[in-house]
């Protein structure tokens, strides 16, 4: 990965704790650092509860980070106040696509009202006709019939709803989109549709994605680089091919060994690699660049061995 590429998002030592100081304190994200280049797709994978979604929600400031910095286009957005002027500007630049297409659209709003919410907030396309035109354009972009703008969400299928969600995110013309498991609630045939749509839009508009998922094959397909998360920490980050061909962290190896392959012969022989996490997190461990562009959560000794 070329270093001269422009970084659009840079996360430095991000920490997100919940119920601080109480018995049930949770360290959902514990000292995570990474960056995302402009125009690329960074896949974020990990098991349930590893902190993937929390990372996304902290970056988009649905949560207020406990500690650390989030630089968006060089500006630290981790501490700007809710509903301030800077926040409003930031809200326009970064958008999110949600996991559950049945929960992400207000059942009591029409499609055009759902999509135009962002337009209203940011004062885009204010006239009535101009607005309808813009909504139609957005629906067309996500391959939905603009005639359907006065329908309610329940009249659409899961894939169509997800595309309405994408249109809503695109309405404010953002540069960076966090896709929080956008396909995990969809049918396999629809998954490809939505992923292809996301890629087409990315090409067309030069968007940057943070793609959160747990479907490894899909992540490899869409991502330029992949970050593997475990227990609130990123354990490995490298280009998609590098992660698949040369996994260094034992957790990554374990994850990759779990991918089923649609071939009975291979499946019979496939053995899962178990991951022993008792040795993985000690004081000596930290996030280091062991090979060019390949980051690993490891001890200094391990890093030296790899180099």
């Amino acid at each position: 990965m070329a270093d001269q590429k422009e970084k659009i998002v840079e996360v430095k030592h991000l920490k997100q704790y919940f119920n601080i100081g109480k018995k049930n304190e949770v360290k959902a994200i514990d000292d995570v650092s990474f960056y995302i280049y402009k125009g690329e797709t960074l896949g974020l994978v990990g098991e349930s509860g590893s902190g993937k979604s929390t990372t996304g929600r902290s970056i988009i400031r649905l949560y207020s980070p406990t500690d650390g910095e989030i630089l968006f286009e060089g500006q630290d957005i981790s501490k700007i106040k809710n509903h301030s002027k800077n926040m409003k500007k930031f809200r326009k630049e970064m958008q999110m696509i949600f996991q559950d297409p049945y929960a992400s659209l207000n059942p009591r709003m029409k499609v055009k009202d759902i999509i135009s919410e962002g337009l209203d907030i940011h004062g885009i396309a204010t006239g009535k006709e101009e607005r309808e035109e813009k909504i139609a354009e957005l629906l067309d972009m996500v391959n939905l019939n603009p005639e359907h703008m006065s329908r309610y969400p329940y009249e659409f299928s899961g894939g169509q709803r997800q595309r309405i969600g994408i249109a809503r995110a695109l309405a404010v013309d953002p540069q960076f989109i966090i896709a929080d498991e956008p396909i995990s609630a969809l049918d396999v045939s629809i998954q490809a549709q939505v992923v292809n749509l996301l890629q087409d839009i990315q090409k067309e508009r030069g968007l940057t994605y943070l793609f959160i998922a747990h479907d490894l094959s899909m992540v490899k397909y869409i991502s330029d680089r992949i970050a593997v998360m475990y227990h609130g920490k990123i354990v490995e980050l490298a280009s998609a091919d590098e992660i698949y061909d040369n996994p260094l962290h034992s957790y990554t190896k374990s994850l990759l060994s779990a991918i089923p392959i649609p071939d009975p012969e291979t499946e019979k022989k496939r053995t899962r690699i178990d991951f022993d996490h008792s040795q993985a997190f000690t004081d000596q461990h930290s996030f280091r660049e062991v090979l060019p562009g390949h980051f690993l959560y490891c001890t200094e000794e391990e890093a030296a061995n790899i180099k």
Binding site: Q99, A103, I114, E117, G118, N145, E147, Y154
Partner: protein
């Protein structure tokens, strides 16, 4: 391939995107959400019938001074306990006859009521016209119900939304406050009010204002807690929507069924609360009538003069049934999915 029929080229047409779209074109005009709600409500027959009945009852009670045939509080002891009589028509039950010791007797003749004078629903034990008293009584009961609903909506709903939306310490504080209020029995609140104020409509309304909204606030808070984790609320937040707008555009429409159902409970509760207070003598002071006082008076002589209780009881039941059915209709009207 040889079996294929020979179709000339000009019969084929290139299908383009626009052709497809025309097929899916919607004929229905595009309405806003609120217009949709109105359309659904108006197309529901039960709602329209109950709404009409309620509007008529409300209009009559508003226009009570014009409509009531007699002064509701004027006593005429000589004409006490007259049975219902409607003009000179001989309708059973409305002809002025009364059962006395097994014989049907014309009570109006017995008491020498002048020929042209009659009471449609009869008179009570002080000779007051029951119809006029019911009209005025309905007016008062509906007013109490209206105030209770208003308090529910103006205090209960925002209180619940704020408590649920803010969560954390604000919520804890607001909930302790509710617990304190609801731990004091209503009756004690009223008695305390009366020790400061005169017994009457003001103290009843104040007591309702202090206590009635608590259930609504609790229900709305619980629901808000669920709703605020919904992804469409998160989406609104990532778009930069203000909390107030989120409440108005997302929370309230989705809370509407809870709010409507709870209001449907509030209306009868308030009417009965007033009736109960009047019954034990700390509500509406005599001689003013409310549906509650009419029922309690009628109940005293129900075995001998049943009409004195029937009339207010029927009116109260009609109001209850209509508000409940209308509530159901409203709840459906607010739900887009009820069309199918």
């Amino acid at each position: 391939m040889e079996n294929l029929p020979n179709i000339s080229k000009d019969k084929l047409k290139l299908v383009t995107k626009t052709n497809d779209q025309d097929k899916e074109k919607l004929d229905t005009p595009s309405l806003t959400y609120m217009q949709d709600v109105r359309r659904r409500l108006f197309s529901n027959k039960v709602s329209m019938v109950t709404l009409t009945i309620l509007v008529i009852i409300i209009l009559i009670s508003i226009l009570a001074p014009l409509i009531a045939p007699h002064d509701p509080n004027a006593q005429q002891v000589t004409y006490a306990n007259l049975p219902p009589k409607l003009a000179q028509l001989n309708i059973p039950g409305f002809n002025g006859f009364q059962n006395q010791n097994g014989h049907m007797v014309d009570a109006y003749k017995q008491l020498n009521v002048p020929k042209g004078q009659y009471y449609i629903l009869g008179t009570d034990y002080l000779g007051r016209d029951l119809l006029s008293r019911i009209i005025y009584g309905t007016r008062l009961s509906l007013f109490v119900a209206f105030v209770a609903t208003l308090v529910d909506l103006i205090i209960g709903v925002p209180y619940g939304i704020i408590s649920g939306w803010r969560g954390g310490r604000v919520d804890a504080f607001m909930q302790r406050f509710i617990e304190i209020i609801s731990s004091v029995p209503n009756l004690i609140v009223v008695i305390l009010m009366i020790s400061v104020l005169q017994p009457g409509i003001t103290s009843i309304i104040l007591a309702i204002a202090v206590t009635e909204w608590v259930t609504m606030a609790r229900l709305v808070r619980a629901q808000t807690f669920q709703l605020k984790e919904q992804e469409y609320i998160l989406a609104a937040r990532t778009l930069g929507e203000s909390s107030f707008k989120i409440a108005m555009k997302h929370l309230i429409p989705n809370l509407s069924s809870t709010i409507i159902i709870q209001t449907m409970f509030t209306i009868p509760t308030a009417i009965f609360f007033e009736a109960f207070l009047s019954y034990i003598g700390i509500g509406v002071p005599a001689p003013n009538a409310s549906l509650g006082t009419l029922l309690s008076n009628g109940q005293l002589s129900f075995r001998f003069l049943p009409y004195q209780m029937w009339a207010p009881a029927i009116i109260l039941s009609i109001i209850m049934i209509c508000t409940n059915l209308l509530g159901d209709g409203l709840r459906d009207a607010f739900d887009p999915q009820s069309d199918h």
